[in-house]
Amino acid sequence: MFERFSDEGRAAVVAAQAEAAALHHGYIGTEHLLLGVLSTGAGARLMAEFGVEADPVREDVVRIVGRGTDDIDPAALATLGIDFDAVRERVERSFGPGALSRRGCGRGLLSRHIPFTARAKKALELTLREGIALGARELRAEHLVLGLLREGDGIAARILHTRGLSFDEVRARIAGRDAA
């Protein structure tokens, strides 16, 4: 499916993955796709026309779903009687320095596969459908917004609805560009 995306459309999806990883969310949801769109030039320009910007959206996402934790807090482990320093010392004795660090475990951004949620998959399918309906040669970041709005129930749609965006309005704005 991603072969039908433009470079920028694909960049939005890659950025969505980065957003999910940065928030320590173990999935790519519609909210991350929206943030991905906002990270691209064309996507950000379209959204700016509707008063939607990346930072406030990210704040909303954190407020709604929270920030995941992927961090080990030695003090929290100590409440269970676990001495993290001792654990790390033993592991490093066997596997070398830094073995327990995220990078050492291969949990870096590119090495970790983050799955799409069912809603995000649905939004991607609808992006394809809406792009075809508009006669677009390739799917751009803007078309992702249509997919997210058409999906309708995800966090992205909620965030966009509270900002007064409607599918028809955004579609009308994009339609002119695809006709050209």
Partner: protein, 76 residues
């Protein structure tokens, strides 16, 4: 020693406080995830099959492959 201090601090907090308990669980889970990734990678390097790793971890070979297989390929 810092660990001694944190233990004392921890003991001073009400252990039924959800904030403390849940933070401990989250940290423990993160620690387990990292240990698992490390040991699965080590086992694969030593030629263990996904089946053998699954048996040792008490999960199906499909589950362990799904979780760690792609990670290794991308790293490799």
């Amino acid at each position: 020693m810092a660990a001694e201090e944190t233990r004392e601090l921890a003991g001073a907090v009400d252990s039924t406080d959800p904030t403390v308990g849940l933070a401990a669980v989250a940290s423990l889970r993160a620690l387990v995830e990292r240990l698992e990734a490390l040991h699965v990678a080590n086992a694969r390097e030593r030629g263990w099959s996904w089946q053998e790793i699954g048996v040792a971890l008490g999960v199906s070979k499909q589950a362990v492959h799904r979780k760690h297989g792609r990670r290794r390929r991308l790293l490799g």
